[in-house]
């Protein structure tokens, strides 16, 4: 696979320590699930930020997506917490 652009937002961005990066995962990374596994194995703060996916939502190419969504060359994958627009807790 060629490069994949990764974006982090809100609390996930703070945990990851960066807002975006471009990565070059191996060819066997074909969906979001395997991308997450690879990012975790790579280590560092972005990997730690993705340790618990229960509170993380995903978008692929700016559309909501599941862990099973395919990821290919030049895709944009975003990780962020559940949306909180419009309300205060």
């Amino acid at each position: 696979m060629t490069s994949v652009r990764i974006l982090y937002f809100a609390s996930v961005r703070e945990h990851a320590g960066l807002s975006e990066e471009t990565v070059m995962p191996p060819a066997d990374v074909a969906d979001v699930r395997s991308l997450v596994v690879w990012l975790r194995a790579r280590g560092g703060r972005p990997g730690a930020a993705l340790a618990d996916l229960r509170h993380i939502r995903i978008a692929v190419n700016q559309a909501h997506a599941s862990l099973d969504h395919a990821v290919g060359p030049d895709d944009e994958v975003a990780f962020f917490p559940p949306i909180t627009g419009g309300r205060r807790q």
Partner: protein, 169 residues
């Protein structure tokens, strides 16, 4: 149409502009969302709204398209702000213009309910005790499921779809 902006807006000006020149509009239903302080815990000083530029516009357009597919609307306007806001500031405006009020009211409610769960915005609150991210509320997801039979992801229901075929609220 949709707009995502840092600047404030004038609801009166926006509504005037929405129906100007369109005599097919019989009414406009409007929702204006504000930054509030619930007085639970430390006093809210400010709130910062972070969003996902690009995806935000796509999601809001998708929500508008879903409303237009479901109700016979003359026009739709969604304005959403981002950046640092203080209590009392306007955050969002949703307006649905239709020939008849039922369509306008229902579409307006649909638009704001979906916006709260689908549009990628996150709130960071600033109080005297410091800052924290606001957690998502289950009630937002429940409000959105009211419309689950016509989720934007379910595709275009088509103009012949019965208007009251939605799930119970």
């Amino acid at each position: 149409m949709i707009r995502v902006q840092r600047e404030d807006f004038s609801p009166g000006t926006e509504i005037d502009r929405l129906y100007a020149g369109n005599s097919g509009i019989g009414g406009v239903a409007v929702f204006v969302g504000l930054v509030r302080d619930l007085n639970r815990g430390p006093v809210l000083r400010a709130m910062s709204l972070e969003h996902y530029p690009g995806m935000t516009e796509r999601e809001l357009t998708r929500i508008e398209d879903a409303a237009r597919a479901r109700w016979p609307l003359q026009d739709v306007l969604i304005i959403h702000r981002f950046g640092r806001l203080e209590p009392g500031d306007r955050i969002v405006l949703v307006a649905a213009a239709a020939a008849h009020r039922d369509d306008a009211f229902e579409a307006c409610r649909f638009l704001i309910d979906l916006l709260k769960t689908e549009a990628p915005f996150w709130k960071h609150e600033e109080t005297a005790n410091g800052g924290h991210w606001v957690e998502a509320r289950d009630t937002d997801a429940v409000a959105a499921t009211r419309w689950s039979s016509s989720s934007p992801t379910a595709g275009n229901p088509g103009p012949s779809r019965p208007r009251h075929a939605r799930d119970r609220g």
